[in-house]
Subunit: 344 residues, 3 copies
């Protein structure tokens, strides 16, 4: 399937030599470096002017049958490409594919200008080359770095700082936020609002605790659609460089996480929990508050974590257990569900 030009415009055609250069692959003997490609496609639907990629050996049969004019694959699979399909051997076909796809369809660049309906406070600073969309509202003292894009209806509160090349998409909002370069807020993301902090008063009412911290977003952090990151109470909520957060995620006040974390959709992290670097939290996992999750730990989907997780540990289940222990217990649990006659 070619990308729909209504949404993606025409692709930027690329000669094979440029593609090979981008991914550091050698052109196989006899391949024509001037051959023009127009885009990417899956192995099983690709045409002669398209390039596909082979993610794993599961797709060996698809590779053998592909109509693609070229393929990105591991060196050991290059020989399986059919005649007429140039195999570009790369160490990581998935990564190479990401890079090649961007050659054809570079991410949309801002079209510099401030829409006449945008409301930018007098004391706000907008860097050069920014696109500020219709009905955007930017508060006093806010600073938006150069080459950034703010979509329609984006609200940036007073004092917020965003670095160079940030993309704040439709309906996203930020307050009390200091962000680095290349940060992306997807539609409807909420960053910097009040944390859920209050004390119980003797009359049964709740006394709100002023939330006096900020949200700090490192370079290239992405926050998914309709996700929420509350600002800190007495300290900051901190998201490390390059961390990616999917849709509908909840990150409570005072959470800190390191660089390169992957937080999948609908995860919830309670207040003051700390994640190291390169932590992965799979979908719908929940972490209690005041925990410490070590570097490169991985938490399974829907897991409920109520204790610290050491670096490199994989955990699963509710309450979460180390993955081997959890799987063994579950296997026996499942045996509980067998009819008695089968257990004998």
């Amino acid at each position: 399937m070619a990308a729909d030009p209504r949404f993606f415009g025409q692709s930027c055609p690329q000669p094979l030599a440029a593609i090979a250069a981008r991914v550091g692959a050698a052109l196989p003997e006899g391949a024509d470096g001037d051959m023009i490609f127009t885009g990417t496609a899956p192995l099983d639907g690709a045409a002669a002017q398209q390039i596909a990629y082979m993610e794993s050996r599961r797709y060996l049969a698809a590779l053998r049958a592909t109509g693609a004019g070229a393929v990105l694959c591991a060196p050991e699979h290059a020989a399986a490409a059919p005649p007429g399909c140039v195999a570009l051997a790369v160490a990581d076909p998935h990564l190479a594919f990401a890079r090649v796809a961007k050659l054809f369809f570079p991410p949309p660049a801002p079209r510099p200008g401030i829409h006449t309906t945008a409301i930018v406070a007098d004391s706000a600073e907008i860097g050069s080359g920014c696109e500020i969309g219709p009905y955007a509202v930017i508060g006093e003292g806010a600073r938006i770095g150069p080459d950034s894009l703010l979509g329609a209806h984006v609200v940036v509160g007073p004092g917020c700082v965003f670095g160079r090349g940030c993309h704040l998409l439709a309906h996203s909002s930020a307050s009390h936020t200091i962000a680095g370069d290349g940060v992306v807020l997807h539609p409807g993301a909420r960053v910097g609002q009040d944390g859920f902090g209050f004390a119980l008063a003797p009359d049964g009412g709740f006394e709100t605790i002023p939330q006096l911290g900020r949200v700090l977003l490192g370079d290239r952090v992405e926050v998914g659609a309709n996700s929420c990151i509350d600002r800190g109470g007495q300290q900051d909520t901190v998201i490390g460089t390059g961390t990616r957060i999917d849709n509908l995620v909840q990150i409570a006040h005072n959470v800190t996480m390191g660089r390169g974390c992957v937080i999948v959709a609908q995860v919830g992290i309670a207040g003051s929990t700390t994640l190291g670097d390169y932590v992965t939290l799979a979908g719908q996992a929940g972490l209690a508050g005041h925990l410490s999750i070590g570097n490169k730990a991985r938490v399974g989907a829907q897991a409920g974590v109520i204790g610290n997780v050491p670096a490199g540990q994989d955990v699963f289940g509710t309450p979460a257990l180390p993955v081997r222990e959890s799987l063994r217990a579950f296997a026996r649990f499942r045996q509980l569900g067998q009819p008695i006659s089968k257990k004998a």
Copy 2:
């Protein structure tokens, strides 16, 4: 309780004969077809000019005591209606009630016109009879079918297509989306944004994979408040005709589902999973990626599905098991929680 006229206006009064005709019920002997009704009410709070319905035999006592002037009920319960209450016997009282309630309170029709503050791109096409609300933003080349309603602050990206009679409510947004007729986006719904796709680079950073697919919404699809449907990566994300999606649901890139599915609140479906027709996912269920869920399968609330589910199968639990096996295992698990003395 009568509907609050501040929100619903006055009802459209209906003669009993029109009500009976709408639901295909015979007027009982002696009933006055000209009797005027003003609205619906629950059995236990209804007045003589209101019509109630009896959902199941659990409400037999409420039927016997009702003050309603008429009731929609199964044929076998008609005799239990008290004197002065006309029983309209129907095969499905719940469905009949939906239809009757709409007679009294038809869904709000668009009031044709484009608000002066709406920003409609020159190349966008707005069908006849549409209502476009304040501060709506409609991008280049977008097409909105006739008799559609866009609420305040709705953002429709360039190239999007919506069919006839669609309702996009306050703060909803769509990009890269092709939708049929009668589609409803509830407030804050997000459709068509980037999927969560990236590759890990050797330096520990992530390389975004361009998401070059679309979202295709069949006729009469409804997307709940603050729910998210990401567009596809190399293929489309597809939601079949008539499927209903509740609030705060996450649907990842490349998911496809058939017609008439019911996706309850806070469900999450990971990338590239396929649902057949008439699948039901109960609240907070999570489905891993690349799975296949057969027609009419049902997934229990909070279930975690990590394998394919055959057509017609009901599953429950995390990891999800067929419902009988799951209930048996849970019953024994619960026995584990009894004090030892009770087990003897």
Copy 3:
């Protein structure tokens, strides 16, 4: 860490005597009531002009080492404050801290005025002292009480009523809603939209059931960022006085809850379930429909509740069991995961 003045302005300095008076603490002998404090800080980062608090005895070492000029603590810990740190003894340091922090940083008051871009229907009533932000849209017949604040892009539908001193923050929306005084809608909150109600028709399609109820919010209810509260079908959805709802929570049609409930992030409550007063639902818990949860019941994180819960009961797990039973069963489940050799 002092509060960032870009976001919080300068604090209102307070003499020690005023602080002590606010929390009902006696000034210790020799303490200087005229000593000026500039703000709050955690025990381990506080300076001489800041006041800290000691949440529990876990922080005794931090108290002994603090650089704070004063501390709020339980009477039995007052003697542990280091020289130069005035100990204010209070029954509830957490509550006292909330009150003191508000002295330094009172919540932002509305700056009266209606932004020129706000669209206020002719028949809407805006109380005195209200701040109505840019691009807010207020429908026909709506009433906003005095001293309320509506942020940028807020949408209030026709007929809605909000009391005195309400804060509706950026991008929040309400329809079919009657709210008391001091209600807060955090960014992106959705209140009053259609419930998920429909009947299955013989042709496999769904017939929408008109949702003819409202949402009633008691005084001081708070609704978190991107949370959703659907209006009722034949009755109202009701949230009692003082109840606090965190982010990304789903509350379905016809739910009613009492006063002082605490609903943590990502909880889901299905239709027609009733909560008493002071119920706590921890993060990601799910409640099935048509249940009754008694006063002061507590539901654990990620629990799945499928039956009624009596007043005062704590439940845990999926399906939820009384907490003692659940913990015992889980302990034995965990034993299932031990290698066989360890079980002997």
